[in-house]
């Protein structure tokens, strides 16, 4: 089971304290990530979707230990060893940072404007003391070549580049250290469609070449469908459904997933958004979530039990989990091609 998996997250929790008053008394918690478990196989892409505020970015940052978690395990399989990253001290964690990198959404704010492309791309190598001198320069060159950036640009500053090129610089930076896992947080969301396609293709090529594993966080479901092998859906900090991509999109088992799918505007005037139906309302305040199933106030299928009891995440088909009291009974609508 664990042979092919690169990363297993078990029971991950990240609570942010809500402080009040002069003494910063803790009056409650925002459960940004609440008991999430998932697994990513080596060389595969797990898509993570959900509305803003659902906790997807926090989950991505926890996996990299960019923020400390409240509880849970992050088991990283490498070189025949399994290590729970959650147990490591900051110093011990350094060794593992080489294996995991991140690509950010905004190519305008994620690159230091005072550093040259060379400085930016070489940074992970220098910090982790992987290479220096000539070897460092060679690694940077290779990384830039892989992302299709002209080597003459090495001494330039980020402002001289377009959004697409900046995103390539960000990818080169992540790639330079030969990581196993890359967390892509809305990596193509800020790009124009024609440039977005170039970057998606690039990510795919790099994955094949280096057997990279991606945790792909995005709100654009058509992009997620395109890149992911499996997709996990989050709602107010909880995982509500996870399945192989095709199955999730054609046969969703959670009403929230169905609602997300039905809200995607298709680029076809003959397939308009439904005039009625769909979900009303907005994501509840994660500091004060509803009782029972968090989705029940917006769910068209909600029953009494949904208001009272939180549904457990159960396997509804092989490799397909859903957290809904009625996932076996409901005939939910997926997308037809």
């Amino acid at each position: 089971m664990g042979e092919t998996s690169l990363l297993e997250v078990r029971g991950l929790k990240k609570y942010f304290p809500i402080e009040k008053g002069l003494l910063r008394r803790v009056v409650g918690h925002v459960r940004a990530v609440d008991d999430v478990s998932l697994r990513i196989d080596k060389g595969k892409t797990l898509g993570l979707v959900g509305e803003s505020g659902s906790g997807k970015t926090t989950l991505g940052r926890c996996v990299l230990r960019a923020v400390d978690l409240t509880d849970g395990e992050i088991v990283f399989h490498h070189d025949g060893l399994s290590t729970d990253l959650a147990q490591l001290t900051r110093r011990e964690m350094r060794e593992f940072r080489k294996h995991m990198q991140m690509i950010f959404q905004d190519p305008y704010s994620s690159l230091d404007p005072r550093k040259t492309v060379f400085d930016i791309v070489s940074e992970p190598l220098r910090i982790n003391k992987v290479a220096s001198g000539k070897a460092l320069e060679d690694r940077v060159r290779t990384a830039l070549e892989h992302v299709g950036l002209d080597l003459r640009y090495m001494k330039r500053y980020p402002h001289a580049f377009s959004g697409g090129q900046r995103q390539r610089i960000g990818i080169a930076r992540a790639l330079s250290i030969n990581p196993q896992l890359i967390v892509c947080d809305e990596a193509v969301s800020a790009l124009d469609v024609s440039v977005q396609a170039q970057i998606l293709n690039l990510l795919k090529d790099l994955q094949e070449e280096f057997n990279l594993t991606y945790l792909f966080i995005a709100h654009d479901l058509s992009v997620v469908e395109h890149v992911s092998d499996d997709v996990a859906v989050m709602y107010v900090g909880k995982l509500v459904e996870q399945a192989p991509t095709d199955e999730l999109f054609t046969r969703p088992r959670h009403p929230y997933t169905e609602a997300l799918l039905s809200a995607i505007p298709r680029p076809d005037p003959d397939q308009p958004l439904p005039e009625s139906g769909g979900i009303e309302g907005e994501l509840p305040d994660p500091a004060d979530p509803p009782s029972g199933c968090y989705f029940h106030p917006r769910c068209p299928y909600a029953q009494d039990i949904c208001r009272a009891e939180a549904p457990p995440l159960l396997e509804v088909a092989p490799g397909h989990t859903a957290a809904c009291h009625f996932s076996q009974e409901l005939e939910l609508q997926g997308l037809e091609n």
Partner: protein
């Protein structure tokens, strides 16, 4: 047919004089918006979509900019050329809000953070002659209710930061439609929203259009949104319209290499796993002193040397109501 016309833009140019040269943001644009219909303007960032909208609203700072061409707003009694009006004059001020209103991508920038949402929505009523404060408040509450804001009698006294992104967008729509404008210009109004909220806002706009009979100019880079909202579509590239037609014509039978490229570069559901997306090479250039040629020539896969870079192609009618500016169809 002319009585159906609401707004006619003829050979519009909006140039910005910069140190580096002339930035031709809008460069010879002609299109028409019909009553009660939605014109979608689609294109990538930097193609001049927003400057077009701002030119019609006359909210482009005069400093360093030049506006040329006609923007005819038709009335039963005749037409007004907005391009000729003084942007700070009474006539333009009266026109804004009452005849043409606009909503933006980021409502936080449209609202002042220090006044309540209600006061800002009501302001238009007072500016345009309302004197009864209670009536204005009543009207605003009704309107907030109409755009789907729960408990409007309480929300009216909220400040913008107290509302969620979706609620702010609804409030901005309320602010825009309070005077029943004949044209609503929507500049990427749902781009910053989640897909579920986007679907709600799009539905709301359609309903308001049905009820109020206003025309909408819908600007977006999102082809899915355009397909849902637009009756007619203008595809813009570098300050020019390269293809124009009914939405069905543009989506089912795109002609211009740029339109085709855009359509191919969006991921399709159910497409075979591992397939590469088609791309358009390069990026949108900056229109600084652009040559008088097809704006797409530098990125086009069907580029013909000596023709595409020689002159701007004329519009060719390929089907009734469907035109394309490309030498391939001449």
């Amino acid at each position: 047919m002319t009585f159906d016309l609401l707004l006619e833009v003829k050979d519009l140019h909006t140039y910005f004089e910069l140190e580096e040269g002339t930035l031709k943001a809008v460069n010879g644009l002609s299109f028409a918006i019909k009553k009660n219909r939605t014109l979608g303007i689609v294109g990538e960032s930097g193609c001049g979509k927003s400057v077009t909208a701002q030119s019609i609203m006359r909210i482009i700072p005069r400093k360093n900019s030049r506006l040329r061409g006609q923007i005819l707003l038709h009335h039963d009694s005749g037409a007004v050329d907005i391009a000729q009006l003084d942007e700070d004059g009474d006539q333009m001020r009266d026109l804004r809000g009452r005849e043409i209103a606009m909503i933006f991508q980021e409502p936080m920038t449209a609202f002042s953070p220090v006044h309540t949402v209600g006061n800002q929505i009501m302001e238009a009523l007072f500016v345009h002659g309302e004197t009864d404060k209670r009536a204005a408040r009543e009207r605003t509450i009704t309107l907030l209710d109409e755009v789907g804001i729960p408990a409007p009698e309480r929300r009216i006294d909220d400040y913008p930061f107290q509302l969620s992104g979706g609620m702010r967008q609804r409030s901005m729509i309320a602010m825009a439609i309070i005077l029943n404008p004949r044209l609503l210009i929507a500049d990427e109004p749902t781009t910053a929203l989640d897909v579920t909220i986007q679907a709600q806002i799009l539905r709301l706009m359609k309903r308001l259009q049905r009820e109020n009979g206003m025309a909408i100019m819908f600007i977006t880079h999102d082809l899915g949104v355009i397909a849902n909202m637009a009756d007619d579509v203008a595809v813009m590239y570098l300050g020019k319209i390269v293809e124009y037609g009914a939405a069905r014509q543009i989506f089912k039978d795109p002609k211009h290499p740029y339109t085709k490229g855009l359509m191919r570069s969006i991921p399709k559901f159910g497409a075979t796993e591992g397939v590469h997306l088609a791309t358009i090479k390069g990026t949108v250039p900056v229109p600084l002193d652009p040559p008088d040629a097809c704006p797409f020539a530098s990125r086009c896969s069907e580029f013909i040397p000596g023709r595409c870079d020689a002159a701007m192609p004329e519009a060719v009618t390929v089907a009734p109501g469907h035109s394309v500016n490309c030498v391939l169809y001449e």
